[in-house]
């Protein structure tokens, strides 16, 4: 009645044996570890190494310059660096707050049931699907100094008398970048918040209504607390995105005028590929990374695991 018993596996390396089963884990993760080591860890280490050398254009395999902290010295004493820090801080705050505000509002709006809700939801998050470069094309024209729509609108609405020189005015340029980034950035917040809102069990609201809570109270005591984890993670991710962004700023204003839109990320790039000083560029870049890490750890604290 019994089945013919399979001959015992000839393979010496039979991963199905209980004593060997756990080995598969290591085997499967090996390619990732190797790839990551090769294209992320090693370059990162190289970058850190570069930052400690006084080098313009390094040659891989060439003799490395002596260890020197002159890049960092230059960095901390350079007004350009501090300006970049300031610009980054301003931009991060403005764009993050803006994205979260718009994102959360649109999510709350679309969370209601109404005809055409799916279309509305798709439409509201559409900017996410527009490539950053294209967003820049759109907004660069809308912000055009001579014929841009926004300038004309500002005059019509009485904010100003003449066309705003978006690209030659520091303040104007900053706001141009900020607005473009908010338009690109809020859909992500919206999508995540909507998912978070929809995962709040309806029972909670039912219980609250029975307890006599009004709309605002339900929002404050049920929606917000339960949404906090998602909101927190999204906030940090948006923040990191602003820190890192290159496409929008570089193509819209190039970092100008007069470095009024030069974030740390742009400065890192320009030091390397405009001023051809890889050592300094690496220093700025490494420092930016460190700031990012500290900022997110501070913001998430013990809950840093929630990003992964």
């Amino acid at each position: 009645m019994t089945d013919t018993v399979q001959p015992e596996r000839r393979k010496f390396f039979d991963l199905a044996r209980p004593s060997r089963q756990h080995l598969l884990g290591y085997i499967l993760i090996a390619p990732a570890v190797l790839m990551v080591a090769a294209i992320i860890v090693w370059p990162l280490v190289l970058a850190i190494d570069l930052s400690f050398q006084q080098v313009k254009i390094p040659r891989l395999g060439g003799a490395s310059r002596p260890f020197s902290i002159s890049n960092y010295v230059w960095l901390f004493s350079s007004p350009e660096f501090w300006l970049a820090c300031w610009v980054t801080l301003k931009l991060v705050i403005v764009v993050t707050v803006g994205s979260v505000a718009v994102g959360l509002s649109t999510a709350l709006l679309v969370n209601n049931r109404f005809k055409g809700r799916t279309a509305a939801r798709l439409g509201m998050a559409l900017p996410w699907a527009v490539p950053e470069i294209i967003a820049v094309v759109i907004f660069a024209w809308m912000f055009d100094t001579s014929f841009g729509l926004f300038g004309w609108l500002a005059i019509q609405l009485g904010f100003t008398d003449q066309m705003i020189p978006w690209v030659s005015s520091s303040t104007a340029a900053f706001w141009a970048v900020a607005i473009t980034m908010v338009w690109k950035g809020f859909p992500f917040v919206s999508i995540m918040c909507l998912a978070g809102l929809q995962s709040i069990p309806a029972d909670y609201y039912a219980a609250a209504k029975v307890d006599g809570a009004g709309v605002w109270q339900r929002f404050r005591w049920i929606t917000m607390p339960l949404l906090m984890p998602v909101l927190g993670v999204t906030l940090v991710l948006t923040l990191l995105w602003v820190f890192r962004d290159f496409s929008i700023i570089k193509v819209l204003t190039g970092g100008g005028p007069l470095r009024s839109t030069q974030t740390l990320s742009i400065m890192t790039y320009d030091q390397a590929f405009q001023y051809h000083n890889f050592g300094r560029a690496a220093a700025v870049g490494v420092l930016t990374l460190v700031i990012c890490i500290i900022a997110s750890l501070l913001m998430l604290g013990r809950r840093s695991k929630s990003i992964y």
Partner: protein
């Protein structure tokens, strides 16, 4: 919950207003593309061109190598997504099923990789690729985009695999599969939606890159990706906004199409990984 007529009206009005505000720039892109240059250089701007130049699309398509740009973006995307998925699916599965020493370090690494600015990594990568003579080749993008995709995909896939019960592999092993057999015959077929979502999102990530493309390919016009190509239409002194807008429509269309038709997958993947 029944709404009063006033409440409904308010809701629909708000929704409509918000949609208009948000989608207006996209609409404006189309308007700009269809306008004649004269019309563009005039105030007040017209909200729909008096004489829509529908043939601008054909003209721009002929004048600029848009197809080639799109093709290059596609090559880079397919290459980097394929490479990354191979690596990430295995790693995500391993992280989901096996507790390993260094599981926490993996987590830290994923976190750091999300913060790593392209503008930092591009510097050493440039050195490395220069020494290997790869500058100007699309292979630089395959590797560079993978640096963005692998950490994110591994994390997303791990979250997805976590939702598949381990008993399925156990049953498969009792039925006679090896552990790898169980993964391939049982888990992967079930995980296909998650794999698709991750691959899709990775595709969008790759398509969106500009920093790496600009740095590595700027001197090889034949290998320009879509994003890079568009920026070259921005003139030093004068930009033909209708031309560049028309070209932009071509470039934006693929991703917008993916978004509209496959949004379910994209968003599902994003949010499933996030809310754990």
């Amino acid at each position: 919950m029944r709404r009063t007529f006033a409440q409904s009206l308010a809701l629909y009005a708000t929704v409509a207003f918000t949609l208009i505000m948000i989608l207006f720039p996209v609409y404006w892109l189309l308007v700009t593309a269809l306008s004649t240059t004269d019309e563009l250089y005039r105030l007040p701007p017209t909200f729909w061109p008096n004489d829509p130049q529908w043939d601008i699309f054909a003209r721009v398509w002929a004048a600029k190598p848009i197809l080639m740009w799109l093709w290059n973006s596609m090559l880079a995307a397919v290459g980097s997504v394929a490479l990354s998925m191979l690596v990430s699916v295995s790693a995500g599965y391993a992280l989901s099923r096996y507790s390993m020493r260094g599981g926490a370090t993996m987590g830290m690494f994923v976190l750091t990789a999300k913060m790593l600015p392209a503008t930092l990594l591009v510097i050493p990568l440039f050195s490395i690729f220069s020494s290997f003579g790869l500058i100007g080749s699309l292979w630089t993008l395959v590797l560079a985009h993978s640096t963005m995709i692998i950490p994110f995909a591994t994390w997303m896939l791990k979250g997805y695999f976590d939702t598949i019960p381990k008993e399925l592999e156990q049953a498969a092993m009792v039925d006679g599969c090896s552990p790898i057999g169980a993964m391939i015959r049982v888990v992967l077929p079930i995980a296909t939606p998650g794999l698709a979502a991750t691959a899709l999102y990775a595709f969008v990530l790759s398509w969106a890159d500009y920093a790496y493309a600009r740095t590595f390919l700027v001197n090889s016009p034949d290998n320009w990706t879509a994003n890079l190509g568009i920026t070259t239409m921005q003139g030093e002194y004068v930009t033909y906004w209708n031309d560049i807008s028309a070209a932009s429509v071509f470039i934006a269309l693929p991703i917008i199409a993916i978004y509209l038709f496959l949004e379910r997958y994209l968003v599902g993947g994003l949010t499933a990984g996030a809310e754990k």
